[in-house]
Symmetry: C2
Subunit: 329 residues, 2 copies
């Protein structure tokens, strides 16, 4: 069975450390997917399979025309719609340049997309980031789709995060979490409010109890300890011939759980404001900055250049840094 880390080893110059250090979760890995719901400029979905002008301009003879439609993208798209429907004007229009909104490597075997919408002034939303990657490798393809909705320092409520990393048609790695912004061992009240009272662990268990599911342990210790104790952090492996089963799980239980987690987040986190004195707010800000910087450091700056030409990867990283609000080290 091909696992994401195996696939990624096949990428030019990719090291075995790539996935896990990079993919789940802290990797807001930009990536392929011509099927993007919200094109940053047009604001209307492009038709399936219709390549963008950026793609047409840069694609070589062996190029991937577009990322294939697949359940992981449907799930993320549905979540983005759910969030946009609820957040409405609290999300500003996308401000990502065209050549970051969609990009590809020189060989044309990898296409990526990134969309970032900042929160409107006065809202607790910092940004919503969607990214997608489709990369052909000798034995198949790897597909990574992510949605992150981060909050600013008007609240200490957790961020929302989903990453789906698929290295074969029969297996997928899932990281779904309300990403904590406080030290949970030090703040039992915070743990209780967002993780115990919300019964998040029951959502996690719905995925965990599937027979095809195994825990996914990121090789990055940082990723492991940045996530909450109710994070869905699993590998779903349906075995040979299990393509249909995997699709059913992704469209079924996974989509349902992700939707319910997002619904809780929209109801209890997205609009929240937290009373904090200056010291508390400074502390929260500092923690946010460290977590964000560390995410980018262990992932993108080390790994994106392995998959995309330097000018492309630096453009993309620069936009992600801008969204994350962190400067180059």
């Amino acid at each position: 069975m091909l696992r994401p880390e195996h696939c990624l080893r096949l990428l030019p110059a990719a090291t075995p450390a790539f996935v896990g250090a990079s993919a789940p979760f802290s990797c807001p890995l930009p990536g392929g997917g011509a099927i993007r719901l919200r094109h940053p400029r047009a604001r209307t979905p492009r038709l399936r399979g219709e390549p963008s002008s950026v793609m047409r301009a840069s694609a070589g003879p062996d190029a991937v025309a577009s990322a294939p439609e697949m359940p992981q993208r449907e799930v993320v798209r549905a979540l983005a719609e759910q969030a946009v429907a609820r957040l409405g004007p609290r999300l500003l229009p996308s401000a990502v340049p065209d050549d970051v909104a969609e990009f590809r490597n020189g060989a044309g075997n990898a296409v990526g997309s990134l969309d970032v919408r900042r929160g409107a002034p006065g809202s607790s939303i910092d940004f919503m980031l969607q990214s997608s990657l489709h990369c052909k490798v000798p034995n198949g393809a790897i597909d990574i789709t992510s949605i992150l909705i981060f909050l600013n320092c008007m609240t200490d409520a957790p961020h929302f995060l989903l990453e789906l990393i698929q290295g074969s048609p029969t297996s997928i790695v899932v990281v779904l979490d309300l990403l904590p912004r406080k030290d949970l061992a030090f703040h039992p009240d915070y743990l209780q409010k967002y993780y115990e009272n919300s019964r998040m662990d029951e959502q996690r268990a719905k995925i965990d109890e599937l027979p095809q599911v195994r825990p996914y342990r990121s090789p990055s210790l940082f990723v492991r300890c940045a996530c909450s104790p109710t994070a869905v952090m699993v590998s779903i492996d349906c075995g040979q011939g299990g393509e249909g089963t995997l699709e059913e799980i992704v469209r079924g239980q996974l989509a349902m759980v992700a939707k319910e987690v997002l619904q809780f987040w929209l109801d209890c986190c997205a609009d929240s404001t937290t009373k904090m004195d200056n010291t508390e707010r400074d502390f929260l800000l500092k923690r946010d900055q460290i977590v964000r910087s560390k995410s980018i450091e262990v992932d993108l700056t080390a790994n994106l250049p392995m998959m995309f030409d330097p000018d492309v990867s630096s453009r993309v990283i620069s936009e992600i840094r801008k969204a994350f609000g962190v400067q180059e080290a």
Copy 2:
């Protein structure tokens, strides 16, 4: 297969929430085991099977004479010897009263032991706590053995912790960790020093890769987030007829890994001192206090009285509070 939580459900008045909330890890659950290596007073091991005067005095006609010798107790005993040999005079003699050093419930079906040795003045050791529980239940017995070595605020290095919870002759729950004293997501340097550079994850993997091993997910979210990302937190289940296999694993791979983790801790944590300004030290102290109080709250005060008579459990809890340096809420 009988699992610890099933066994504990059979205890008088025990709720399903007992194990998991209480047992791993935060439960320095005092408990059975007449085979105690270091009797707090005598300082010489009692002969196997020889009941103490406390036991003889209180045992009823159906009473458990002593906790059976078993591999989990051998492992903890060997670790205690390893620690004592290294720490030497940095550990004071035990100061636990006789009726806490060994105790039992009125029905005599449960015996417990607790030993606490404080660190000598000027050392970084706060205390070493060993505890053991043996409790007969209708379908067998439950055995819990723990060793915790906690540091004081002269250092911010992690504590050492091992808990073994056995609900049947063929299965055991293991929690082995260098318990972090800082928010690891906020302190990547601390994560690197104690968990990455120490290659703790390789130790964890040695246990995780055994075919009989499954991840153990404590029902207590607090327990999950208080542990490090390299904690061994597993259930080892050898299935019907697997008594011998379990014994081999406990005496073999588990003993070896626990010994190596303790060795690293003795080499790099036990003697360490950390330069901190007053604010940092106050913060560390506060975090320590919250984690310790929360441990006792979710475990002992709620659960010990279900297994032992009120006077016994309050005596034992009081000694553990004293060791932990936390007052009754």
